[in-house]
Symmetry: C2
Subunit: 613 residues, 2 copies
């Protein structure tokens, strides 16, 4: 070993000991004949003192930032202690040193707040990873995986590796494919998830499976997507939904405790998908704060519940009659923002501009201020009298000092817009508190969603998700074909709910899963509902259908988005800083300069030709 | 949960309890109105007793092998106990049951000794995985990875995921490549190992890294190779070879203790590569037994040590003069097989046939029997007198009752053949004891090997391996170009030893690694020695050369072949039974039927055309 101790280890009690440290030069400070060096390694920073007698040697071997240094000396108490540093009570009085490697001047500073832009930091990722701000993310990531593994191990789960070179079965997202040299003209696919393998393991009787595993999706990348990502992937046999919810609520609480020191004692809130969509306009609401949505007009068709308790504003006709914008809009929704009634004209104008931005793309924003004195001020005063505004405020549960914000327009767009606006207002009001964590189970998703393009059903989750037990008969006994596209909502399949569940943390989906189909007949019906012919189903998933004939147990599972989970626990919205070597939005690794062209010989061996348009 | 207990859980102390089990029907035995069912799950087997009152229900719902059953009843003491079964003292007197899923008759029996052939078992791998013989391998695999992770965690290693979509840098083995849709005409490669990434992590200061990680090599598959395989991959900074040897000797001993209950107390034997080649004819000798090789003639040039203590048989001239076969052979080697002097003519003839098989391909086998009475009997009696045979036996350290086996021929072939013969004789004599484990470090490998085809140096390990500290200057100060191909052994580079080490277990290489180069100049020299131009080096490994300019610490590491390690610990020579979903020798997954053709549309999106010859 090049060192006797790490740079984070020594304390006052070690004073007088002779030690050897090795690490990187963080700073060099010269005071006359004396030089102070902050030496950094993974474990911390220790101050080295180079006295007068080393002056000449230092002159001959000048030290620069990021030089790799080995130095030996005596631990001594510091006169000028640094309370911000674990080693801040001591310094090392150096007697000899050796430069192990030099460093060019780094292209950006290796500090928490760096002067390096995103591109530069990615190109020199190995330097970026030295920064404490990134290092603590990488360490947190390890702590999360370690906590998850330990919990699952205690619960008798077993880590079983599933293959990476599998079969391409394009469903939903695009596969990355791998040409096979030994099987000319044929390709492997990289797994989008180990879904079918973990189900096969249940058929094999392994009962409780987990894996922390890379998955691959060839999608057009959005800001915070990566072509390769990691899942905590789990599956259990002989369980129902309740068992899974309890098991993985336990896991996430264990992670909170181990990684963040947080006792998440209360049970995780549960919410139906209907309620999530109705009250928050999204299937992943941030429940750290309220500010529920009020539906002033037609309920959303997408989650038509036939639940008579969910009524639109009784003033609907009045609204429509008096104010054309509301009348013509398919959907009109509102949120009551607490303590924002004093918003100035400038502020409400700015909010109106905010909803008109291309990302939100609404036509405008209506508002009602509920003043502290019980009076009202709205953006549509000439259409509504005080009684109408009072009724509207009451319907929105808006108390004094609330600002009611109202959006109207086409259903889906308006629903998304009000959900975004709700988050934005919460952000502005400081209601999305960093360090506060609120978990939520969203349950009872629809099994299918309607594909207008193909006039057929799509799987909302994936084709292996089971319907609710009480809906199995609806699925088996009805023809999935949609005769009348206009009336698809009247098709019996529109009512089928899935035995599926998402875990949401602070408004982010961190995990999702379902109880699976385990009967061949039902799985075949599912494939048929998705427009797959029998031949196609056999070609793509024959192995699974076959497995279901040999004693498949009831089973279900869940997969957590490991990158995102780490990011949220680390207080960030971006997963990229929690991945050691991420790719950019074009799917490129700019450090490696990958992907890149390959040799003609390689192509030839793979029986391929480029055909770049 | 569908069950209150597992099938491996109940004991006599539970008698009287009402329990519910779920699992697979292993056997059905009817005795008149009573039916016994052995119910199996991951945890064991429990006997279920269906009494007379369930007769009718059983007739209506007949149970077959591998049916999935849920059954409730009372635990009771068995009259006919089964000492071979953990649950053998009890049975469950069933009061109600439900068939959760039926099963077709499996294509082979789900038992330790199955009637299924290899192909059938692979096609129905999900059934094969139910067999206890396979299940215990999968469980052992998990136990090994768990033990390795726990040890490395205790030693402050941190698991950091490295990317799978990287850059193709064909060195040695072929890369699997992945066409990029977003970057037309360009490809990612799947990693053959995370080598350069773990080195970058050392440059980043992570100090102690590990990963249990999939790697990929597109090689023509031999019997026991897989295109995807798993490594326990580790790297450390600020260490020398001795630190690595100690750290990973600790890891493997921890695995022995945790997984096999074996206290491997003695230090792991260390052997130089020279000695391994000289004494065993291989760089991965099985040291559970002796039977060292005696070199009767020219020392092997490949490990010419210039060590005068290693002499050939002084009778060399005599040998050559008297016996043409020995005279003409480039290399003549012998082993003394204990207790085999009584081998019959038939047996020695059979051994001669064994060495003539195509896999060994020797011309013949000479032998000398050292009889218990001190006389000799050889296959070349007419050329040698008793004194000469006596001298030869003494030189081979052959005592009474030994059978000396002698092979002669071209150096490399003969060396391999005697090594194989040594293993074969040990096998026949029962010296390769299952359950006995002997570890070995092989050290001091040559850094380079000569490529006759290209008349240049190849890296014996990989291009990132450092020379021994005392050989760095030889490397830096000499031109790597080989002027005279015939005299390549006289080139200074032929003497350079690597700072590299292999861990060998029972004659199998289970891990290998090295201290790495961490200076740009030396790394560039290495690339040049391997015939790489400066441009090529920059194109392929510019990121690493760049990283070495910003303070790279001294570092080194090791990678263990996880599949093979598990196989050996599990007492098998074949890795395939230790992989949940392996591929066959043509790289195919016969269960999935992968690889397979992909859609025209997929090819088109990837800007590719098939060009199958």
């Amino acid at each position: 070993m090049y060192r006797s101790h790490t740079c984070g280890q020594l304390r006052l009690k070690d004073a007088g000991d002779k030690v050897t440290l090795a690490g990187w030069v963080q700073t060099v400070r010269k005071f006359g004949a004396i030089t102070f060096i902050d030496l950094r390694d993974r474990y911390g920073i220790t101050q080295l003192l180079f006295g007068e007698e080393l002056n000449q040697e230092l002159d001959q071997n000048p030290l620069g930032r990021e030089f790799v240094l080995r130095a030996t000396g005596i631990v001594q108490e510091r006169s000028n202690k640094n309370a911000n540093l674990a080693t801040g009570d001591i310094e090392i009085n150096i007697s000899s040193f050796k430069i192990l490697n030099k460093s060019a001047v780094p292209p950006f500073t290796i500090q928490d707040e760096t002067d390096g832009g995103d591109d530069l930091r990615m190109r020199y990722r190995y330097l970026d990873l030295r920064r404490n701000a990134v290092k603590k993310n990488i360490e947190l990531r390890y702590a999360v995986s370690r906590a998850a593994r330990n919990y699952l191990h205690q619960q008798e789960f077993i880590d079983i590796e599933t293959p990476f070179l599998i079969k391409s079965t394009p469903e939903g997202a695009r596969d990355f494919v791998v040409p096979s040299r030994m099987n000319p003209g044929q390709f492997y696919a990289l797994p989008q998830s180990p879904q079918t393998f973990k189900q096969l393991l249940m058929v094999s009787g392994y009962d409780r499976y987990y894996q922390v595993v890379k998955c691959f999706r060839d999608e057009d990348l959005r800001a915070d997507r990566q072509p390769e990502f990691t899942q905590i992937d789990c599956e259990m046999s002989f369980v129902g939904q309740e068992d899974i919810l309890n098991m993985f609520e336990g896991m996430i609480k264990h992670i909170f405790k181990e990684v963040k020191g947080i006792d998440y004692a209360e049970p995780v809130e549960r919410m139906s998908w209907d309620d999530a969509m109705w009250n928050y306009g999204t299937d992943k609401p941030d429940t750290r704060f309220g500010m529920k949505i009020t539906n002033l007009k037609t309920p959303y068709t997408v989650f038509e519940t036939k639940d008579s308790s969910k009524k639109a504003l009784p003033l609907g006709e009045g609204l429509g009659g008096a104010f054309g914008v509301f009348k013509n809009a398919e959907t009109v929704v509102a949120i009551a923002v607490p303590g924002a009634a004093e918003y100035s004209r400038k502020q409400t104008d700015e909010l109106a501009e905010w909803v008109k931005r291309p990302q939100i793309a609404m036509g405008g924003l209506a508002f009602v201020k509920v003043n502290a004195d019980g009076t009202f001020k709205s953006s549509f005063d000439k259409f509504f009298n005080a009684d109408q505004l009072k009724a509207l405020a009451a319907f929105c549960n808006a108390g004094p000092d609330n600002l009611i914000l109202i959006l109207g327009g086409a259903e889906e767009k308006t629903r998304k817009a009000i959900s975004e606006l709700r988050l934005e207002m919460a952000e502005r009001l400081g209601l999305r508190k960093p360090g506060e964590f609120k978990l939520l189970w969203v349950l009872d998703f629809p099994l299918f969603e309607y594909s207008a393009e193909e006039n057929r059903w799509d799987a909302r989750h994936h084709p292996f998700t089971s319907p609710k037990p009480q809906h199995v008969d609806i699925m088996i006994n009805n023809n999935p074909v949609i005769e009348n596209a206009e009336k698809y909502l009247e098709h019996p399949y529109a009512d089928i709910k899935a035995n599926a569940y998402d875990m949401v943390l602070n408004g982010n989906e961190i995990g999702g899963g379902s109880i699976r189909i385990y009967q061949r007949e039902l799985q075949e019906k599912m494939f048929a509902a998705l427009g797959m012919s029998k031949e196609e189903a056999i070609h793509k998933f024959g192995f699974l259908l076959g497995a279901f004939e040999f004693g498949a147990p009831p089973h279900g599972g869940i997969a957590f988005g490991f990158d995102r989970l780490c990011a949220i626990l680390g207080g960030s919205e971006s997963i990229r800083d929690f991945i050691a070597f991420p790719k950019n939005n074009a799917g490129r690794d700019v450090m490696l300069d990958a992907p890149s062209a390959i040799d003609e010989k390689q192509l030839d061996e793979l029986n391929l030709k480029l055909d770049v348009k």
